[in-house]
Amino acid sequence: MNAGPDVERRISTWLADEVPARAPDRILPATFDRTRHTRQRRFGAAWRTITMNRPWQLAATAVVSVAIIGLGAAWLGGSGGTGGPSTTPSPAPTAAPSRTPLPTPTPQASLPPYPSSGAVEPGTYALHQPGVPTVTLTVPAGWGGGGAGGPVKNDGTTRTVGLSTWIVGNIYANPCKWGDGLLKPPVGPSVDDLASALARQPLRNGTTPTAVTLRGYSGKYLELTTPVGLDFATCSKVPGAPENSPSYFVTWVGPALVDDYMGFAGPGSRDRVWILDLDGVRFVLVATEFRDATAQDLAELQSIIDSVRIEPTPPSSSASPSAGP
């Protein structure tokens, strides 16, 4: 038997004979059963385009912060209405939360689903995310679908603004070094547990959680920012991704502790976070503003927030946050 220089050819021939021509038919249906319920990991990546020097970064952050505080306060002042101007955040509740009737809720069944991609026509939609209560909202012109969350504008730039809905399973011990693992022990199941944990999460500069009522649902509100000076290139990459893939800054993970990541951030970006108790389901609404978002962008985001109606249907699975690892 000649096993000389042609050994590679013989191996190659053998492999070609061995490889099956077709995959079993059941792989694709089984795959799609999973992917239809799996949110894409979508991370804001605008930090890669940052070109401003440090003083300008700080200035821009300050400007955006002022705008956000004003807008956030305006919305927080409402407790079920459309969020009229106010400078007084909701005080901490002193009695059992009362449910404010929804202002003529629109049946979600009659609304088109919010598209997961592409440009979106102005109008009212039902935003569905796997395992997350549905919200209805109205978007103006110029917004699009951001597969992972919901409405997004200027995606992939330092002007990105967006709104997303979540059920949080646990948060990362360090959102930059998220590859090192989740918080241990994991975040407890209550609204307060999550709010407190986020307020303490390193690198997020969380504000003190304050009591809030939104659309009749009580909960906690806080703001998270990402550091302007952080070198995001030092953060963890997606496991298994090519070496030249980007690094990410990831805050939390969904209830299954896989497949659903909140990593939408850039230097100086800010997340306004509402953590609400929807009849036992801990629901999280996040309004994200990257630091170069314009006043117009922020006003449009606020108009979407003001239009939000929450459908408190519990998730079909993983209704309560996991206490997993």
Partner: protein, 181 residues
């Protein structure tokens, strides 16, 4: 690969992903089957690779690099599947035993030898062999797909082909004796 399809799937279009997945599943399963030598585990690895593909597509910056990207994801899924440990499975192997000519008989023996020798290689060595000698990737592409240095890929390929060569050579001697007897 259809760039537009990749971009649509990357932006969250599940219908586009389904078309994309259908176009690559045979390839993913085939590679997994060769490396893992187990149909059920190859099926699991291919499915896992597709799920990861959907989940992580937004991290793919250049749609043109999809093929290399999915290759890397597949090899990780194969490794993970392998490291999940052996499972109890009932495997029935039906061997074709109809060698009608000496050449056919030799070819069958060759296949059985390679099968056994290949199965004795580590998962890392099998991966290099499949990428380099079955898919025809360059040694640099092989290294990139596996996330290892080029030198390591060369070394693994050399070790694996030498091991297979030695197996074939060792068998050549008794078979020659059988022929001459």
């Amino acid at each position: 690969m259809d760039r537009e399809l990749v971009e649509r799937a990357r932006s969250g279009d599940h219908d586009a992903f389904e078309v994309l997945a259908a176009s690559i599943v045979d390839h993913l399963y085939g590679v997994a089957r060769l490396v893992l030598r187990d149909a059920d585990r190859a099926e699991d690895a291919a499915q896992e690779a597709l799920v990861r593909c959907w989940r992580d597509l937004p991290s793919l910056r250049e749609a043109d690099r999809f093929d290399a990207w999915i290759g890397r994801i597949l090899m990780h899924a194969i490794n993970d599947e392998f490291r999940r440990g052996s499972r109890v499975r009932a495997t029935i192997t039906i061997l074709a035993r109809e060698p009608s000519t000496p050449d056919a008989e030799a070819a069958t023996a060759d296949r059985e030898l390679l099968e056994r020798a290949f199965a004795r290689l580590s998962i890392e060595h099998r991966s290099v062999v499949v990428l380099r000698l079955h898919l025809g990737l360059s040694i640099e592409e092989t290294a990139s797909t596996l996330g290892i240095p080029v030198g390591t890929a060369k070394s693994r390929l050399h070790y694996a082909t030498e091991a297979l060569r030695r197996t074939l050579e060792a068998d050549a001697i008794p078979r020659s004796r059988e022929v001459s007897a």
